[in-house]
């Protein structure tokens, strides 16, 4: 989980992701950040995330991100 927070901080240095339960609703990630996040997660975990999994609700918090990673073969 710490690795995911590190990636998120890399995208938005100023945002406090640990204090948020919903990165989208709290305005910490926009649609471009999600695309950047997908790309960085794919590189980090050496996976390809299915395009149909690239929807905002799958990137709302760390739990949902971990679920997407696992679904697409990521080893957490």
């Amino acid at each position: 989980m710490e690795k995911i927070f590190e990636i998120l901080r890399n995208i938005r240095e100023e945002a406090d992701f640990k204090a948020s339960n919903n990165f989208i609703k709290d305005g910490l990630l926009d649609s471009f950040d999600i695309i950047t996040l997908v790309s960085m997660l794919e590189d980090e975990y050496s996976i390809l995330i299915d395009a149909l999994d690239i929807v905002p609700e799958n990137f709302e918090n760390c739990d949902s991100i971990i679920a997407v990673l696992k679904k697409n073969g990521g080893e957490i």
């Binding site: 995208i11 305005g27 926009d30 649609s31 471009f32 999600i34 695309i35 950047t36 790309s39 390809l48 299915d50 395009a51 149909l52 690239i54 929807v55 905002p56």
Partner: protein, 356 residues
């Protein structure tokens, strides 16, 4: 709608680009990107450079640059033309129509049919459909199919979601009857319930342009645009394309009775690199069968992106023997469509840099 066209051929494609080429780095101060974001997005989305028409340049201007070029090279005889089909979402005027402007500019015969279609990114394939249908009634004539847009004039230069990827271009395509050509498979679908995913809210009769509609407003993500500008729901369009396009391609391949490997080139509309790579993966075809460089080199020019792709990437190949291609476009409407046909043995296939 799905159907099969017979004995039709694309005999030439000319892409017309404005001479003004702008690199992403030159516009970066217009957007709310940090330097780190800039470098990342450049790589991921394919933000590299785009071609922008001058503010006074219209779609008909770009078309005329192209037609003049073809006439000067004796690659086109306007006496052969039975119909002008123009496809654009950024017309010169409400009236007269672009096809009539072209018709008048060249003082063409009164028997030449003029048709304007308002269609966005699906405009090339829709234009071909129209051309093929008209050719059924014009056995001896050719169709001048013109796809032209100056979309950069309708997208806010401070909209980082859309402006870096927009490009202006026109294409001139000659379509004709030709016996013993392979069947052309065609499939087009629409979903008007999702029409607002791509919208220019003002400027039509519903909301005429005014000083109020020209007011720039922050959308909350740091993009400034007015109601006169194009607005895209990027997430909705992404999911739409990834859901509908692979299914459509499966369907048209089934109709044509061929497998994915039989297609030499998948010529997809190019909105951005990330979407294209994901689409290629979902369709299940190798990336090297899907040219993806048009949006990086020229920007997304709406309906002309597929013929521009052909003219830029396959110019040599298109003058040689034919190969089976699958074209697929998707965009405003929402509309998505595909066509399987053999392309090659063209009389011309090239790109022209204009003063527009």
């Amino acid at each position: 709608m799905r159907t099969v066209f017979q004995n039709k051929k694309i005999s030439g494609i000319l892409a017309v680009l404005p001479e003004n080429e702008v690199r992403f780095e030159e516009e970066i101060t217009n957007y709310s990107f940090s330097e780190k974001q800039t470098i990342r997005l450049k790589k991921i989305m394919g933000y590299e450079k785009h071609r922008l028409a001058k503010m006074e340049t219209t779609p008909s201007d770009l078309c005329i640059f192209g037609i003049d070029y073809l006439l000067s090279k004796e690659l086109l005889d306007l006496n052969d033309i039975g119909a002008i089909i123009t496809v654009s979402i950024t017309p010169d005027f409400w009236i007269p129509h672009i096809s009539n402007i072209i018709h008048g500019h060249y003082n063409m015969s009164q028997d030449v049919l003029c048709v304007d279609l308002a269609q966005g990114c699906s405009g090339f394939i829709l234009g071909l459909m129209e051309a093929f249908m008209i050719l059924e009634h014009m056995p001896e004539k050719k169709i001048l199919l013109l796809n032209a847009d100056v979309l950069s004039h309708r997208v806010s230069y401070r909209d980082r979601n859309s402006f870096p990827l927009v490009g202006d271009a026109a294409t001139v395509t000659i379509v004709e009857n030709k016996s013993n050509e392979s069947d052309i498979y065609f499939n087009i679908k629409s979903d008007g319930t999702r029409r607002e995913a791509l919208i220019i809210p003002a400027g039509g009769t519903r909301t005429p342009s005014s000083s109020l509609t020209a007011e720039m407003v922050d959308d909350g993500d740091g993009n400034y645009r007015s109601l006169d500008n194009m607005k895209m729901d990027g997430a909705a369009v992404f999911t739409f394309a990834q859901t509908e396009v692979p299914a459509l391609i499966d369907e048209i391949l089934h109709d044509a009775g061929i497998d994915k490997e039989s297609i030499k080139w998948y010529l997809l509309h190019q909105p951005n690199k990330f979407m294209l790579q994901k689409l290629a993966d979902r369709i299940g075809v190798p990336h090297d069968k899907v040219p993806m460089n048009i949006v990086e080199l020229f920007g997304n020019s709406s309906g002309s992106s597929i013929p521009l792709d052909i003219a830029h990437n396959l110019k040599t190949e298109m003058k040689q023997e034919k190969g089976k291609c699958c074209m697929c476009a998707f965009g405003s409407g929402l509309t998505w469509c595909a066509m399987i046909l053999e392309l090659g043995e063209m009389e011309f296939c090239e790109t022209f840099i204009s003063k527009g």
